[in-house]
Structures are given as C-alpha cells and as structure tokens.
Symmetry: C2
Subunit: 538 residues, 2 copies
C-alpha cells in the first residue's frame, strides 16, 4: 500500500499509452516460476500494480495477499524452511520494506532463501518527496545481495541472479528493487533458471581434524546446525559419531528446522541462558562445529561472559554454513568407522492427557499427547513454551521451527508460510500472547488461504520473559512504572475476538481438560483455528 | 521484545554486580525530561530493561507501552504534531527499529521532531549472531542524525544533542543508539536542555523577490506548507496576501498539521492526482513557495508528467522548511501593504445529519454535522475519505493531520499520540479498512491510556485506491488474480470484534442514520471508541 487519497474532486485522466504485451513484470514472474519460485507473499501498492496485473498471465505463480509486510516476509521464511526453496515477497517501497525487516532478519538468521522484491518509484520519478527513501540502504540490514533493476531488458537476468543469490548456499535474503517503469516497460524476456548450486564439499582435511579431535580422549562435543538438523540421515550420522566416540551431541539454540520425535537422534539444544550453556559445555575440551556458530549468549548481562566456549577448549570447524554439513558427517562417520553404529534415539512415548490447571506444562502435555505424525510445530511460545520440546520428544516424527533471529512476530506469519510450503502437513503454532500482537494480521491470510494451521495462544497476560530479564540484567527497581511496561493486562487481550475479527474460528480454554479437547478438535478439522490458552498465574 | 525462551531447564544465576545508583538510563531520561521530552512510546526488550527500570526513579517521564514498534513511532509523530515538541520512542535493536521505520518515514516527511531511542547489545557483545544487525545503516533511511552512545558519561550530552537535532528546525527524527552496558553503566550525569533554536529568519531579499513576483501582473499562486498551515496568524497573513494580490492560495497535498474551519483562511490543498494539480496550477506564471516543495506527483504513471510546475512558471522560494515561514509571510504582507486586509474565510456552516445509504459522502456529512470545536482529525481514510475535508470546511475551528509520507498504518497510532499531545482535545481518526490493519494493535494502547479517540473505520472491503491505481497505471488485465490481490473480503474483516479484542468498545453502522447516532455517542463519551462504517458498494 502506501497510496493516498485524492483531496479534491475527480479528474478525467488521459488514456495511458498502450502497454507492451510482455513487460518487466511478466519477465520477473516468468523467471521466478522457471526457477521454482512459485509463491509470492505480497502487500502491493501503486508501484507494484503491473506485477499484480501480470499474475493473471502467469497462473503458475500463486499470489498470497497479506495485510502487512511483516506477514509477507515471515511467511516467506516459513515457506522456505519447509519447501526447501524460496518464495518471493512483493513489498511497496522503503516503508513496505521497513515493515518486512524484522521477519527478514529472522529469515537471514535461518539462512532461508527469500527473493525479496521491493517496488520503487519509476526511474524518472526520483524526487525527495512523499514515499521516496533510500531503499538499498535499508535492504542492506538484511541482504548482502541488493540490486536495483534499471531497465526492462535486464529484469530476466537480474531476477535469475536474485534467485541464485537467495539459494546460496547458504540461503539468504536477496533484495531486487524494481522501479515501476522497469516493471511496466518492455518488451522484456524472462531468463532461464540459474544453474543448481549444491553446497560446497568440505575439505577432507577438516574431516581428518574433526576425527582427530573426537578420538584424542579429551571430552568432546559435536554441535550441529543449519541443514544438518533438517536432514534425517545427517542427524543419524551425527548420532552414530557421538555414540562411537562418546562425544556429546548438541544442536543450536534455535534451529531453523529440526527433525525430531520417536526414532530420530535428538541432539540436546543449547540453552537460551548463557549460564545454562556454560553448564552444558563444562569440561568440554574439543568442540566440533557442523554448520553452527561458536556459542555466544543471546544477550549480554552485567558481570557475565558473552563468549560461552570454555577456556582452553579447542574449536574445530567441520563445516561452515554453506558447506555440505550432511556430507561431512557422512565422511566423518566413515573415517571413524561409525557408519553402522546404532545411535540412541527417543522411544515412542506420549504424556497422558493433562488435567487440572492450565499452565505451560499442561499445554505442553496436551500437545505431546495429541501431536499428529508429520506435523510442523512453529514455536514462538517464549517462556510459556518451555516444556513443549520435552513433552513432544517421543511424539511421532515431526518438524520443529524456531525463531532464529529473536525478532518477535515471526510465529503466525511463519505458520502461514510453512503450511503452504509443507503441502498438506498439519501445522501447530505455539504463540506467546505478546509475540502474537506484532503480526496478528497474519490470521486473516490464514483464513483466506484456508491453511491447516492451529494457532495456540499461550496467554499469561505479560511479557513474562521481560519480567525475568528485568531481574537478570540487575536493573534496580522494577517498581510499578517498570512492571506496567511489561504487563499485558489492563485491558486483557481477547484473542478469540481478535481471531474472529480476522475470520479464524477460535475458542478459549481455561483448564487443561478444556484445552486438550479444544486442541484435539482444532487439529482434527481442516483449515485454520485458534485456541486461546488462558494460563493460570501465580 | 525480541527475547526468546530458555529451551532447557532452569538455572541458578549468579547475582549480578551492584548497579550504579545513577546509570546511563537515568541520565538519558533526566536529560529528556529537562529538555521537555516527557512522553516515551515504548516497546522494550531485554537490552532496554534499565531504561524501563529507571522510569520509577523519574516520574516526570510518562511511559506508554505499545504492542508493536510502528505504534510507538506513529504515536510519536502524532504527539509531536499536536504538542509541538518531541516525544521519545524506545525500540529494541534493529528489528524493533525496522518495525518503526514506516511511521518514522511519515514523521520525517511531516518534519516532526522525534527522539528515536534504539537499544542495542552491550559494546562487549558485538557478535554476528541472533539479534545483531547493522542498526545505524537502518536508521539512516529515516534519520540524518544517527549516533551510537559509546560510554555512560556521554549519555547526557549525546541525548541533549539528539534533542537538538530532533528540534531542528526543521524537525527531524534523531536516532540515538544506546548499547545495554552504556545504559546500565555509570555513574552518568544528565545534561542540560539544548538551547532554543528558533527557525532561521528569511533573507529580506527573498521577501522582496516574492513581493515582486506577486505584483507583476502575471497569474500567481502562493503555496504554503510546514509550520505555516499550523499557525493561525500565518494563515491569516497568507490569506491577506492572496486577497491583496489576487494570487491563488494553495497548501501542500498532505499537510502535517492544518488549522481550519469557520473563520480561518482556507488554502486549497493540492490534489493527490497529478492531473488535478496540473489543473490547479494551469496558467500560473509565478509560484511562491513558503515551507513547501515544488509540486511533483505522488507516483509516476506511464505517459504522464511527474513534475507539475507549468512550463515557464517562475518559482520563488520565500521560505524553505526550517526557515521562518510565518515571519516571512508577516514581512511579505507588510511589504505589500496587506496587513489590514480581510482575507476571505469559510463561514460557519454544517451539513445536515445525513440519511439513507452509508457512503463516503454520508460519513463525511455526519462528521461535518457533529465535529466538536477544537477537535483533532487524524485522516488516513484514503479514497473513502474524499468528501471529509469539504463537509467539515465550515465546522468550528479544528486541526487536521494528514499522512505525509504515504506509509500506511499511520492513523490509529498517530491518533493515540495526538490525543496525548493535545491535552484533552477530542480526536477523531478517519481510517480506511486496509490501512487500519497495518497497526491495529494501537487500539490496545488507546484503551490502556484511556485517550479520547473516536476511530471511524471506513470499511469498503477493498484496497479501493489500488483498484483505481491498477487502471490508472495502464496495467493490462486486472483479471481475477489481480483483483483478488486488492480485495479485502473473503473473509470480511470484523472491526468491532478486533476493537473489542483490544479492549476498545465498538459498534457497527450500516446506514447513515445509524452511523450518525453512533458517531455522536462515541464522541460524547470520554475514552476510546470505534465505529465501523460498513460502506454501501456498487
């Protein structure tokens, strides 16, 4: 959007020149489709109208309308994590890109491929007025690849380059800025898809070094991330290596995509709190990284360390992001003679249906009792979701998506995108009350698209994590003025009404039995549903 | 926000070091308060917890919690337009700033002073991980003044510099980036308020040139903007000059603040559509600009001009933004001997209470019939609001605030801020359905703060302006796929439920009588109300 009303009476516009039959917008969309980019999460404005018009000419492209750009960018992230290929966004100038930044930040941290299309004023309309702003500068916050397409005849190749940049590996947010006259100008031809770019093979020396580190008798850990946690064979090889060497098997704090459940080796995720990570790594003398970063704390705190690798611990990088972590783990398992080992795996086990008070713990138990096979869990549950991973550890195999970049407002949009990217798999979105309010408009797109998403709102009526952080950072006071800034009651948010306002059927639960029944019904029925879990406090 | 949950069990944190009694956060808030910045629209996260904690020690600062950063930035814009002084924002790292960009863009175009405070990781925590991103680069999209405060002892002076930059004149968005350890470190002393910076006086030669241009017999126009439209004396002088010289009196398309109503000279606002502006300026040979830009069209269109100043028209700049336009108009009126002229003004006149179908026109008539004296109208009504300025032209004196930068999602947040900045004046927010959905969370802050805002949702169930733009840009097609991207039905949005979900009482009206009654009740009762006007279509 970003258009504005006439302030005076109507006019009689002169008819515009006849448009080219194949314009820049057609070339853009056809190149995307040829490259496997077949969904566009859009919030268009005037400068994007030719893109919108071209959708009727290229039916292979699915346009998904969102009411806010942060929904589009979060959905593109969720889509990419499940589909394994990029979606496009369609955003309106600098302000539209601004609204998309937070979820593009999460996508960047997830290394999700996203083709981020930002419409701009025509190249003939570069004045410092109204909607004009410095789009490339804004884009660099989330994109290494940023290009303004300057002519219709370049749209095809620029788009193919954008797709190639987005795919990496590693995946990234590639921002293509499309001036309106480049979109409406022509003729313009689509370009062929960029060539496949598999991950870079790992240097055999790295495998040798990792094997030596794991063999030398020093307590060791194998820390996996990136594409490894999304790959069952890679997880199995990691589990075999850990079993064969005695190394501890760890995963990133917030995996973009983690395959898990009964029968799947389960790395222990690093904690959110630095002191917990220090405990997890205590005594470790060799740390082997596979598409994972050196552990640092999420935030800094007075008097506490940010770097969490123990003193004297040798860090060995087996694979960087963009390198072939799964292949490297296969080679390492072979090097260690571990390819036939049976790694320990969680057995099939579900908690009983919970009863009594509705708490984070009983919500988790209900999820564990009911989670369908092949489900996707999109987790932005913050403190209230602490128990969910544990309660679902022995559930049937499923996929878990975390908020990778800490930019709140990821969950509802990502669940929308995941449901479209996962082709019919049920999606459960665990969503904290405060987090839900950043991009609540995503519910409307869920309703419009009819996606099978069950949104569970964990409503504790506060930014509970900030009450904890207020104490942890050593902030003196925490008096009534401070506590009021973390309180989400006064007035209470009513998520069933919000959902209904956006067209999603919703129910409220206030005890464990009621919640479990509501969750079961919501998951059984196709289409979007919301269950508000009003958590007992105190 | 932007914090995230522990993924594993609880820990026993070591107690943090004793905090300084006067830290950077105290110095920041005390310097702001000393400088007249006494409201902070906040959406804090962990790195801002010391700022939050310090609120209890400096009760002169009013913290207003928002559920989304775009609400905070839009409210700061609305506050500044009415209060005439800046509010502060409090945002959480790059993603929080990203969410605020769209409304900061509007504030930049309004030349609203805003002290934009962005918390960052501690200076000891500069790793490329989780929430880290390039904040200064992002800020430059909306701020010329961007500074990272690097030490607690610099907080006072950096904050005073930020206030000075924000005040200008012209006003601007000044971004102060505050690392967490600078906030918690100390001791730190507040700085005194920056010295007053009145607008720069206009060069007397400019007055002479403007007088000559208006006297030489060529058809002329006086185009006013910036501080002029917010100043009754300046508007009267502009009216006198126009009356004395025969010049046409025009105002910017989207004034940040326009004083208007019965008895106040009423410049004709330039149109949104370029062809209308061309008609308004047809035959004009001398164009005198007073804190206004040379007219260009909002968007470019195929085959149409972007620059709207007629060929051969001489443009004379009497005052640039930041110069003293009101003073220059006084000098110009004196130079022209027009100081005692009686400018034409609209008489007191209200439309009758409307009956029949509910349309943009009858909504406007109801507003005209009922608008209270001294009201503030915050206008983001897009196409459906086309008739509102006309219907209220003879209403009692009131203030009109427009969306200056075209970044949609301005209205509800700006109305919140305007109500706090305008100290008890009633606020009416005309809000299009599509626009409302960008920052609908602002309703919750309206409820919490109990502000006297009546939000009128003009619900035509479409991005109606984009249907017009789709045709105007000459986009071929406009087939079902394209039209679906502009359609806001399927499902219909229910704004009464959305409002209730955020704690604001709401009613729906479907005919003119019902709407008029609902508007009257909403405006009579203090506190926030929402009236959903379901417009007749076809």
């Amino acid at each position: 959007m970003g258009t504005d009303p006439p302030v005076a009476g109507s006019v009689d516009p002169t008819p515009p020149a006849a448009p080219p039959t194949t314009n820049g917008a057609h070339a853009l969309i056809r190149t995307l489709v040829a490259s496997g980019v077949q969904v566009c999460f859009a919030n268009p404005g005037t400068s994007e109208m030719h893109f919108v018009a071209a959708l009727d000419d290229v039916p292979e492209m699915r346009g998904v309308l969102t009411l806010f750009e942060g929904v589009a960018s979060g959905a593109a992230d969720g889509y990419a994590r499940l589909a394994g290929r990029p979606a496009a966004t369609l955003l309106h100038l600098g302000p539209g890109l601004g609204n998309a930044i937070a979820n593009l930040h999460n996508a960047r941290r997830a290394r999700s491929p996203v083709v981020n299309v930002v419409g701009d004023h025509a190249t003939t309309h570069r004045f410092d007025t109204f909607l004009a702003s410095d789009i490339p500068t804004l884009a660099r916050n989330v994109s290494r690849w940023v290009r303004t397409c300057e002519a219709p005849e370049r749209v095809g190749t620029d788009t193919a380059d954008a797709v190639a940049a987005a795919l990496g590996p590693p995946g990234e947010v590639a921002t293509l800025i499309l001036p309106a006259d480049v979109s409406w100008g022509g003729p313009a031809e689509p370009a062929p898809a960029p060539p496949p770019a598999p991950p870079r093979p790992v240097d055999p020396d790295a495998v040798t070094r990792a094997a030596a580190a794991l063999r030398d008798g020093t307590p060791a850990a194998l820390l996996v991330g990136g594409s490894v946690t999304a790959d069952l064979d890679a997880l199995r090889n990691a589990g075999r290596i850990a079993a064969a060497t005695g190394a501890k098997l760890l995963a990133e704090t917030f995996p973009a995509r983690l395959e898990r459940g009964a029968g799947i080796p389960a790395p222990e995720r690093l904690g959110y709190l630095g002191e917990f990570v220090l405990a997890q790594l205590a005594g470790i003398g060799r740390l082997v990284l596979v598409e994972a970063q050196r552990p640092v704390s999420f935030f800094a705190y007075p008097g506490r360390p940010s770097v969490l690798v123990p003193d004297g611990c040798e860090v060995v990088v087996l694979a960087t992001p963009g390198e072939d972590g799964p292949g490297a783990l296969g080679a390492l398992a072979a090097e260690l003679g571990a390819t036939t080992a049976s790694p320990p795996v969680p057995g099939a086990q579900r908690p009983d249906r919970p009863t009594g008070a509705l708490t984070g713990e009983t919500v988790a138990a209900a999820l564990g009792a009911l989670l369908p096979e092949d489900a996707v869990v999109v987790d932005e549950a913050a403190t209230a979701g602490l128990w969910a991973p544990g309660a679902t550890a022995g559930a049937p195999p499923h996929t878990w998506c975390s908020i990778t970049g800490g930019a709140i407002g990821y969950g509802i949009p990502a669940a929308l995108g995941a449901a479209i990217g996962a082709e019919g798999r049920p999606v459960i979105n665990l969503e904290a009350d405060g987090s839900a309010c950043y991009t609540i408009q995503a519910l409307w797109s869920c309703a419009r698209e009819g996606v099978d998403v069950t949104t569970v709102i964990l409503n504790n009526r506060s930014y509970a994590i900030l009450n904890m952080e207020l104490d942890r950072v050593g902030a003196a006071g925490g008096g009534p003025a401070a506590r009021r800034m973390l309180d989400l009651s006064h007035p209470d948010l009513d998520f069933t009404r919000l959902a209904a306002g956006f067209g999603v059927p919703a129910v409220r639960a206030t005890d464990a039995e009621g919640f479990t029944d509501a969750l079961e019904r919501a998951m059984r029925e196709p289409g979007p549903h919301l269950v508000e879990a009003v958590l007992a406090t105190g």
